[in-house]
């Protein structure tokens, strides 16, 4: 069996020796040119004049690119064409690239870029969600999903709370910044190497800006140094600019953004504003929720509509809410165009309901975990059906919930912590558990398809191609395992090929956690096809006449009923070649039974759900607001793991990334719309020292998922949201500084935010328990 083994990443040796090649680490080509952007010093301004003369005179400057150099469409918008590659009239965010300099070296291009003179007339920018709402600056019309009659239910409810939560944005901070190479062949074709999660879309965009058909462009992604959604659409503009430069100069061109440009030019996780009005019973059950989500789309639409949809589809998280209306808007601001990021809106939607859960619990003086559990989806029918009408037919919430509590010794530790808090004045601890339910599939139904191409050579060696890209998530490793398992051959036979649009066309983005679900089935399909062709050959070699009894296993081929007589795989291959049997095959898959009606807001958008739960413990210093994450226990459902080493890595990495989002990663823009946190010196992601000493990840056992490749389950995104347990644990610790009542904690929970929360609870009057103590703060501001 190669399914289920802890096989290290297929490139691990390349990683640790520095031999693994990424786009910009390829051998530099003779005559290769480099690009450098001229960026706008305004968030919004009219372009009055562009003067290139001084720049052109710079030694080593080959040319400068602007809109006039674009032979095709000057636009890289992916859903709507609202994203000018070279702005001609207006700049729409601070740092936007206006002109690109092409130099014989990057230093020369940079010097030239510095000499470009652009005259602007500054205009009034829209910089916050609130300002956008006030000025009705929206990208799209309001979307709505409704179940029941929340308005009526809210009138009849025992208890009611309203408020708003600002959810912070997040930079991807993949270690490898955006990069592309474009090599023209002189015959009008372009070979593109790009750090892209979506080679087919990069191909499309490059073809469109060049005004040629897609078959003239090949996009290859060798591997990415991290992506997390940040290279789904955001890789395209840089490939497009390099293609234009290659077109104009006839030379190979490379572009690699430096970190500052990467952070000021590319989109981030959407910041959200969530407003809610919730009704609930005395025992903490939600009766109705009315919510409005505003996603900060930034200057162009990019992938914001599906991001917003996913947020709206996850505002329930794990909870049954009988009456629910959620509305969603995408606001247009003069900021970078926000984009896909692990969870794709899901985390922002879920954070709102987890905020609501905690408020209900503290208002009623009930343990938050009890309120959460009381609201879980359960049973069958309505109580186990989401607000968009999809039933959770394999609801594993209670399994992960109970298992993680047992593994973490939740009850005993809660007791211990209560005792610690009684005697400790300046430091308080908090323990919290939160659940995750996350829907798997692309919301856009046609994306749920994949292809593969398997080439067996006459010596028995194999090349494996599939449409997914490798960004570190271990997709290639899993695909090798799927292929080796299905063909019954050694892993050593395979060479995993770089993802390329000339091998598998019309691929979907490697995103939505779906990489191995989709491509795995396609790879399996290709292997099955070839096995079906090889089986008669093997039967003949073995002297049997029933190909259906032929087994491929352990690099050998034999008959199920006479396993003693075997032939080597390569012998079968050689014989097949000699018998003129085709040794290459494509594979294909599409996810069955998906449906989504965006107008009605109903359907079956997800093939299945992934589940998990996490328990986190923190200690907060009441004098400084700093906290220490002491312990984390996770139970996560990855189905029947194809590779526990890889899956565990996804769970751990996602959790830590989520923890960073919620506790330290603060993007700060100044009043002119300039991003002030554009480097790791000012934008802080977790280091090893922020990781708890005790960090236990358990994969749910006996968890095979029907209908998914080898019983596995998607794992890339869902565990990101397990980190909400950290935020809730901080809240629990903050609460211990007060006498009861609510805890108002802004995002991210930096030391400053935590100290403010501590001071607020210390200033609160004694809670009467069951009363409604609502501090008048920005976050809990009741709705007008």
């Amino acid at each position: 069996m190669v399914i289920g083994i802890r096989k290290p990443h297929e490139s691990a040796e390349g990683h640790v020796t520095g031999k693994a090649i990424y786009t910009d680490e390829q051998r530099i080509l003779a005559g290769m040119l480099s690009l450098y952007p001229v960026t706008a010093p305004h968030a919004k301004a009219r372009i009055l004049n562009i003067d290139l003369a001084a720049a052109l005179a710079v030694e080593g400057c080959v040319t400068l690119l602007n809109a006039a150099d674009v032979p095709g469409h000057n636009n890289t918008g992916v859903i709507v064409a609202d994203e000018m590659l070279f702005p001609t009239e207006e700049v729409s965010h601070w740092g936007q690239a206006v002109v690109w300099a092409v130099g014989t070296t990057e230093a020369a291009a940079r010097k030239a870029a510095e000499k470009v003179l652009v005259e602007y007339e500054p205009l009034e920018p829209v910089l916050t969600v609130a300002a956008a709402i006030a000025t009705q600056s929206f990208h799209t019309r309001t979307q709505t999903i409704r179940r029941g009659d929340p308005a009526a239910a809210l009138h009849q409810t025992d208890h009611r709370l309203s408020g708003e939560l600002a959810v912070n944005p997040q930079d991807h901070f993949y270690l490898e910044t955006q990069t592309s190479w474009v090599i023209p062949d002189g015959e009008g074709h372009y070979q593109v190497y790009s750090s892209t999660q979506h080679p087919s879309e990069t191909q499309t965009i490059v073809a469109e800006v060049l005004g040629i058909s897609r078959n003239q462009v090949v996009v290859t992604c060798p591997r990415m140094g991290g992506a997390f959604g940040g290279k789904e659409s955001q890789a395209n503009p840089y490939a497009a600019v390099a293609a234009i430069a290659a077109h104009k100069t006839g030379c190979p061109v490379r572009v690699k953004l430096n970190r500052e440009h990467d952070m000021t030019l590319t989109g981030k996780r959407h910041g959200f504003l969530g407003r809610y009005d919730v009704g609930f019973t005395q025992d903490g059950k939600i009766t109705a929720l009315d919510a409005h989500l505003y996603a900060d789309g930034g200057w162009s639409l990019d992938l914001s509509p599906p991001v917003l949809s996913r947020a709206m589809l996850h505002i329930d998280n794990a909870y049954y809410i009988p009456h629910l209306e959620v509305r969603g808007d995408i606001v247009r601001t003069n900021k970078v165009s926000n984009t896909a990021f692990r969870g794709f809106g899901g985390p922002q939607g879920m954070l709102v309901i987890e905020e609501v859960m905690d408020r209900i619990a503290r208002t009623l003086n009930l343990p938050p975990e009890l309120v959460r559990e009381r609201n879980f989806y359960h049973g069958t029918g309505d109580t186990n059906t989401t607000h968009y009408g999809q039933e959770l037919f394999d609801n594993r919430l209670m399994r992960v919930w109970e298992e993680v509590q047992a593994k973490a010794h939740f009850d005993a530790r809660k007791e211990e912590i209560a005792q610690f808090n009684q005697t400790s004045t300046y430091k308080k601890r908090g323990l919290a558990i939160t659940p995750v339910k996350f829907g798997i599939s692309f919301n856009k139904v046609c994306y749920n398809q994949a292809g593969a191409l398997l080439l067996i050579y006459a010596d028995g060696s194999i090349q494996l191609n599939h449409g997914g890209t490798e960004m570190g998530q271990g997709l290639h490793t899993k695909m090798l395992q799927v292929a080796a398992q299905t063909l019954g051959v050694d892993l050593q036979r395979f060479r995993m090929m770089h993802t390329s649009t000339d091998k598998v066309p019309n691929t979907s983005a490697t995103a939505a956690s779906s990489g191995s679900d989709l491509n795995g089935q396609a790879v399996k399909d290709a292997c099955e096809t070839l096995k079906a062709r090889l089986a008669p050959v093997a039967a003949r070699l073995l002297g049997y006449d029933a190909p259906e009894d032929i087994v491929f296993e352990g690099d050998q081929v034999f008959c199920r009923t006479y396993p003693a007589a075997r032939v080597a795989f390569e012998q079968v291959v050689e014989e097949a070649y000699n018998s003129r049997i085709s040794l290459s095959a494509t594979g294909y898959y599409r996810t069955p039974n998906l449906s989504w009606d965006p107008v009605a807001g109903k359907g079956r958008p997800f093939y299945y759900f992934a589940y998990g739960a996490a328990v986190s413990e923190v200690e907060v210093d009441g004098l400084t607001g700093t906290f220490k994450l002491r312990q984390v226990d996770i139970v996560h459902d990855v189905g029947e793991s194809i590779n526990p080493l890889v899956d565990r890595g996804q769970v751990e990495g996602a959790f830590v990334q989520g923890m960073g989002w919620l506790t330290m990663e603060e993007l700060v823009w100044d009043e002119t719309g300039r991003l002030r946190t554009f480097a790791p010196s000012t934008y802080k992601i977790p280091t090893v020292s922020e990781i708890p000493e005790r960090f236990e990840v358990h994969l749910l056992e006996r968890a095979a998922q029907d209908g998914v490749i080898y019983g596995s389950k998607a794992v890339g995104e869902p565990p990101f949201m397990l980190a909400m347990s950290v935020r809730e644990a901080i809240r629990a610790a903050v609460a211990a500084f007060g006498q009861g009542g609510e805890v108002c904690l802004s995002t991210p929970a930096t030391p400053e935010a935590i100290l403010a929360a501590v001071e607020a609870v210390q200033a609160l009057p004694l809670s009467r328990g069951g009363g409604q103590v609502i501090p008048q703060t920005a976050v809990f501001k009741p709705l007008e």
Binding site: V16, T17, Y174, R223, R259, L623, A654, Q657, A679, T687
Partner: protein, 479 residues
């Protein structure tokens, strides 16, 4: 100084640097010469992807591999020296740190991995492979757990058998002493003299020269090409500046001693210094950064000035006019302005170890608050000293802060108030209004003025609480 060839040894191979400008960064040079194993994640010294191991001399003159950020190193600083990059570790087998990282799943996208490997490599030969060794390496994929497991595997391996391989042989045979260097022939000149007098001469000859010690501040300017440096004078090879002297009454720290060396040599002498060095940047930066640079750069958020202010440190300055002693408190004149005269430099820093007369006990500690505990720039840094008599009355108090004013500064009125008061929570409460008024900090991307003001007060209370709880916070991480 003698004429010598300009070379660098990379993984045992010598390369000629004659055609390379001395202010080309080492990382850039590696990439230009086709060695792309070493990665760039920021160019800021903050991500560690560019980490290489440089053969260095320890205090006792033995050779050691030290992890450093190649993006911050002008190649002049490593000319005629030996470095190891990620490509140089494996022979027919993976190096033990590489094998451990493969086994535990320590790489996902792999882009950070070469940096981790080199940090682990240096730690492997340094004998201590733990979180501290990799705290200067960012990984966005793994969540660090498998890397921590790899470190544990390596630790176990070292415990079983001490490292003995071509690298230990190399270390045993190497002479890591820094040769003087003149790196000329380019628009930028780079000098690495051995004598203090030569530094002074060079400063005299080149009024536009800039001193470079560890280059962890200047390196940013170089890495991002924000400034050009026609003449750089490296202090790295000046023996006079690289000594730590201890006497009955004081410690004198050479201005160019790397912080990591101060950390090991002076451990246990000043609790506030131990603590602040623990939180100062990360391993790769501490291996290069110096005290002279931290003071010389005169940043209002430098972490060591508050510590040194709380300890009444005195600077020993030297220039063409001779030497002078200047209390640190008189050194900072305004935002990034100092009393340093043209042609003058910091030679050493004297830190008294004696208590105030009649005092029987000293409480001393420092605090650093950032958005992230590890490797962040301070929102507020603070260092406190109180000397107490046998009735626990305060005989001497120093309350020094960074991040709350244009210069590192003391809360003078609060210090005066404390004199003669009992060291109790009541006194702490009484001094709070004075601390509240002591500074008018600014709001910036790291923190608000309000938060900073709060911390000025609260950190002093925390100091009292920590000290009365039995005090020594050494080695304890936040909170």
């Amino acid at each position: 100084m003698v004429e010598q060839p300009l070379t660098i040894s990379i993984n045992g191979q010598t390369a000629d640097l004659t055609a390379v400008s001395p202010i080309t960064t080492l990382l850039h040079y590696l990439h230009q010469s086709g060695r792309t194993g070493t990665k760039e994640g920021c160019g800021d010294g903050d991500c560690g992807a560019c980490t290489v191991a440089v053969l260095c001399s320890t205090a006792d003159g033995t050779a050691q591999y030290q992890a450093m950020n190649s993006c911050l190193i002008p190649i002049g600083s490593v000319a005629n020296r030996e470095i190891i990059t990620v490509e140089g570790l494996a022979d027919e087998h993976l190096h033990p740190v590489q094998a451990a990282m493969v086994q535990t799943g320590g790489s996902q996208c792999g882009y950070c991995t070469p940096g981790f490997i080199m940090s682990l490599f240096a730690a492997y030969y340094g004998g201590k492979v733990d979180d501290t060794a990799v705290e200067g390496n960012l990984c966005r994929c793994t969540g660090y757990l498998p890397i921590r497991k790899a470190a544990a595997l390596v630790t176990q391996k070292i415990a079983e058998t001490k490292p003995c391989d071509r690298f230990t042989e190399k270390l045993a045979a190497a002479d890591p002493a820094l040769e003087p260097l003149q790196y000329l022939g380019h628009p930028e000149q780079f000098y690495r003299p051995a004598q203090l007098s030569e530094v002074l001469d060079l400063l005299h000859q080149h009024p536009n020269a800039k001193l470079i010690a560890g280059g962890t501040d200047l390196g940013l300017e170089i890495s991002h090409q924000r400034q050009t440096f026609p003449v750089l004078i490296s202090l790295e090879g000046v023996t006079d500046l690289k000594q730590i002297h201890r006497s009955e009454t004081a410690v004198e720290i050479g201005a160019a001693v790397p912080l990591s060396q101060i950390q090991t040599e002076l451990r246990g002498v000043f609790p506030s210094l131990d603590e602040m060095l623990f939180w100062f940047a990360a391993c790769q930066v501490r291996n290069r950064a110096t005290l002279g640079g931290n003071i010389g750069t005169a940043s209002p958020i430098g972490d060591l000035p508050p510590v040194l202010l709380s300890l009444d440190a005195v600077l020993n300055l030297v220039g063409s006019q001779g030497t002078r002693r200047l209390p640190l408190v008189d050194f900072f004149k305004g935002y990034r302005q100092t009393d340093l005269q043209p042609g003058e430099l910091i030679r050493s820093i004297t830190v008294p170890t004696t208590l105030t007369p009649d005092a029987v006990r000293r409480d001393n500690q420092s605090y650093k608050i950032g958005k992230r505990g590890t490797d962040d720039i301070s929102i507020v840094a603070a260092a406190f000293t109180v000397d107490l008599d046998n009735a626990d009355r305060i005989l001497h108090g120093r309350l020094a802060y960074g991040g709350v004013a244009a210069i590192p500064a003391r809360a003078i009125a609060a210090e005066a108030f404390l004199l003669g008061k009992p060291w109790t929570i009541e006194t702490v409460r009484q001094v709070k209004p004075l601390l509240q008024q002591a500074f008018t900090p600014l709001t910036d991307l790291r923190g608000s003025a309000h938060y900073r003001s709060k911390l000025v007060v609260n950190l002093f209370e925390k100091f009292f609480v920590d000290m009365s709880e039995g005090g020594d916070r050494n080695g304890h991480r936040h909170p």
